[in-house]
Each structure stands twice: as C-alpha cells, then as structure tokens.
C-alpha cells in the first residue's frame, strides 16, 4: 500500500512538472501538448463516441487477427515439431520472419489486399504468428520425455498422451508464447492502422495518424495513452492472471 501511494505520488509529480513546463511555454504546444489538453481531448472524444468506437474497431481487428495468428502459429509449430524437413525449411523461415518488424509487412499487405480489413489482418497475422510458431515448437520440444514414458507405462497412447501429458506439460510455455504473440499482434495492428487507411472504419491507430497529420498533438498523445493503457491492462489482467492460475 505504501509503495503504491509512493508510486502515485511520483506519477503526480511527473505530470505536474509536465504541466508546468507546458504552462510556462518552455516547449512549443505543437511539439508537446500539456497533460490538461490531453485529458481534455480524451474526455471530449470519449463523450462524442469517437474514441470508444475507434477502440471497438481496433479491438475487434485485434481479436480476429490474433486468433488467426494463434491458429496458424500453433499449427505450424506442431508441424515443425513433427517433421524434420519442416524444421530445416519452414523452421529457418520462421526464425528469420520472426525478427522482421511487423511494419515491414504493410507495403505487401497494401499491394495484395488494397485498403481493406484483410490487409490489416494480414499484417497482424504475419506480425504475431511466427513468434507463436517458434514458442509452440519449443514448448513441445522441452516437455521432458520421461513424462511421456511414464504415461506410456501406465497405458496412455497416442492422442490421449498428447491431451493428458504433452499439452499440460507444455502449457506454461505455450501460454508464454500466446502472450508474446498478443504483444506482437498489438504492435502489428498499430502499424497496420497507421499505414492502411479505411475510410469507413477508424481504429485508434488511424486517430493517432490523423492527430499527426492535423498537428493535433493533444489527440496524438491522448491516443498514445489509450494504446499504452490497452496493452498494460491486457498484460496485467489477462495474461498475468492466466499465469497465476497455472502456477
């Protein structure tokens, strides 16, 4: 409790200093909006529904793209585990593509899918699936063989051994991969929303982009705060909770 209060106090001092710097015009408001202006933007865009609808659009894209990334990633991860040929071909590609920043997929996505939702999904899937692929393969490879042997001695075979031994033994690492995939998907989606403009459906990435275009820095910084908050809350309340439940 004490450290929590101290943390709040430090944050308050930080925001106070920021407000003072802006109020005294030490920094141009075009470069750095004051926290008061950012707050004002957040409240007004909340009230007129722009921010909430953008957040809804973004989160639905994230959910669809991430689930598809998970499906592809886990499937390819299993394939890599099972096939030596896949490991020495697709495995190398996966390792390489995992290091590719997701924004690099945006030009290709635009070329293949145009300014469409599919282009967004493509960037999110490509940005997240390789990390999930590799961690799935690692998770299953690192299951101690003695667990499977013990299960076989007791009578478990085939899919039963997978369901009751391999999967639960790999679960902590699989969850870690899913968490990494989520972080990658979130970053990829922001890149996609900034690059791929769909006039009919604005996401928070587009709000950020327009904030920059219109020199509305209170909007740009306000949206950044929202993006950080979404990432923070999902990390804190979904994945940490899952991890605690498992251990």
């Amino acid at each position: 409790m004490k450290t929590r209060l101290l943390a709040i106090f430090i944050f308050a001092i930080f925001i106070g200093c920021w407000q003072v710097v802006c109020a005294l015009k030490w920094v141009s408001p075009i470069l750095l909006p004051s926290p008061f202006d950012v707050g004002k933007y957040l409240i007004s865009s909340m009230l007129d529904g722009v921010l909430l609808s953008a957040l809804g659009v973004t989160l639905s894209r994230l959910a669809i793209g991430y689930v598809m990334g998970l499906i592809f990633g886990i499937s390819i991860g299993l394939l890599l585990y099972h096939s030596f040929l896949a490991r020495s071909t697709l495995g190398v590609v996966a390792l390489g593509l995992q290091t590719l920043p997701s924004v690099c997929w945006a030009p290709l996505a635009l070329l293949w899918f145009g300014q469409s939702e599919n282009a967004m999904y493509f960037v999110v899937i490509m940005g997240s699936m390789w990390a999930i692929t590799l961690s799935t393969k690692e998770a299953i490879t690192s299951v101690p063989p003695i667990y499977v042997q013990a299960a076989r001695v007791m009578g478990s075979r085939g899919f039963h051994a997978w369901r009751t031994v391999v999967f639960p033994a790999a679960l902590p690492q699989l969850a870690n991969g899913a968490r990494m995939g989520w972080a990658f998907a979130w970053r990829s989606l922001m890149a996609a929303e900034i690059y791929v403009t769909i006039i009919s459906r604005f996401g928070v990435g587009q709000l950020l982009h327009f904030g920059r275009e219109l020199h509305a820095m209170d909007q740009a910084v306000g949206v950044m705060v929202v993006i950080v908050l979404v990432g923070f809350l999902s990390e804190k309340f979904i994945f940490t909770r899952c991890k605690l439940k498992h251990t």
Partner: protein, 258 residues
C-alpha cells in the same frame, strides 16, 4: 513363490552411441527368470546395461534379439502389468498428489471415478502419505515424491514392479526410512519387484536375490537368505554387501582377462 512370473531368453540390445556414432552393446544374451513374489536386485556399475534391461522388461525399449515373457505372454510394448518407477521424478506437476496416483487407474477397466479415488487413497495410505492428497507435487520433499511415485506404480495392481534406482537421489536418513517402508509394502502387496541399483548394501538390505551385471551380461546370480525386515546396520548386510562387491570385482577381472 515358485512359478516363473517373468522369463528372459537370450535378450540382446545394441544402440548407437550419441557421442561417436559407434554401436554399443547394452545387453548381450541375457537369460534368467524371476519367480512371483521375488525381490530381485540388478546390481552393477554405471553403464553395465541394468537400466536398459529394466527398460526392455517394461516394454519401453524394443529388443534386438531374444524374448521376454510375462506370465507366459510375450512382452511387446509397455503394459500396466509391468509398472516402471523411474530414477528421476516422473510425477506430473500439473496434477495434485491424488491426481497423479489416479492417472494410471483410468486404464484399468470398469472402474468408476469414485472407485479410482478410493483406490488411490488406499495406496497413498499404504505408502504413508494419508494427509497430502491435494498437495502440489512441488510442495513435496524428494522422499515424499518417491512415495507418491511408488503409490502411482502400485495402484493399477501390476504383477511386476520395476524400479530404476528409486532411492539414489535421496539423503541417507530418508533412504533408511524408505528401505523399511519398501520391505513392509513388498510383504503386504506380495508383488514381484525388480530393482536396479549400484549400491551393494541397498541390494543386500532389500533383495531376496541379486543379479550382478557387467558390460551387458549377467555375471552372477545369487539368492540372499537373510530374514526380512532388514536394516542397513545389520551385521549380515555389511558382510553380504562386501562379499557381493568382491564377487563383482573378481568376475569383472576374469571377464576382462578373457
């Protein structure tokens, strides 16, 4: 204690060494039989093939040549009638103690969940763990984990219990306690036990018969007629153990000259 429960005939196994790709003979022409209710200890130095022998008896490792029969039935693949208890901790950390013991019972025919639970609890009582049913595996000490492993191996009622150096990772005091418990459990359940060990005193303390192994071969086969229960401090145990060690040394010298 008379009918052979397990017979091995000319069992051989070679495998490719991971280090240099050479063929290594793990078992060469191993032949012996084990009577029901015996407590057989397989004794030898590291790498003499005793763990491989246990693995082929369990059915986890395939044979290159020879046959193994369990109550007349040819061994091909693992089977719950020959339950193997591993040297390392092979308990499932995602299940609690009771869940681990119940795992093997799901393959026993015609058993409801209630019956499974009752049976698992009974075996946990037998190994002296009646108050840790819902403990996490990580909360248990090394000795307690081996007790759970023993209960898990015994619960499906195998006719042979195979143990691969089950006490080697434990401290001396825990080991002594487990020797006493193991003898009591063996007497109560009347199981046939085949235990691998590299400790002559342990073999002398527990076994009714000791098979010495070297370079994949059986080099000696001796009964131990000391009465159970035995403790490590019994004078007979020390004498028997040193005799066994001497015999192992002599036989290995003769083999190396040949």
């Amino acid at each position: 204690m008379s009918s052979p429960c397990l017979t091995l005939e000319n069992v051989s196994k070679t495998y490719m060494s991971n280090r240099d790709g050479r063929l290594v003979t793990a078992l060469a022409d191993v032949t012996f039989s084990v009577n029901a209710g015996e407590y057989l200890c397989l004794l030898g130095r590291s790498g003499c093939g005793k763990s491989t022998l246990l693995s082929v008896i369990s059915g986890l490792t395939e044979l290159d040549a020879g046959t193994i029969r369990n109550n007349g039935e040819l061994v091909c693949g693992p089977n719950r009638h020959r339950m193997l208890m591993f040297q390392q901790d092979a308990l499932f950390p995602w299940l609690d103690v009771l869940g681990n013991v119940m795992y093997g019972l799901q393959f026993v025919e015609r058993m409801s969940r209630d019956e499974m639970q009752k049976k698992a609890e009974a075996y946990l009582d037998l190994v002296g763990l009646s108050n840790v049913h819902h403990f996490h595996i990580n909360q248990l000490s090394g000795g307690m984990r081996q007790r759970v492993a023993l209960a898990r191996a015994l619960a499906p009622d195998p006719n042979i219990l195979l143990m691969d150096e089950p006490f080697s990772a434990l401290d001396a005091m825990t080991r002594e306690q487990l020797y006493a418990d193991m003898q009591r459990i063996w007497k109560e359940t009347q199981k046939t036990v085949i235990m691998v060990t590299h400790n002559a005193r342990e073999a002398a303390c527990l076994g009714t018969r000791i098979i010495l192994m070297s370079a994949g071969r059986v080099i000696d086969d001796q009964p131990i007629s000391l009465p159970h229960p035995r403790t490590m401090n019994d004078t007979g145990i020390g004498q028997t153990a040193s005799l066994i060690s001497q015999r192992l040394q002599q036989k290995e010298n003769v083999e190396s000259i040949q």
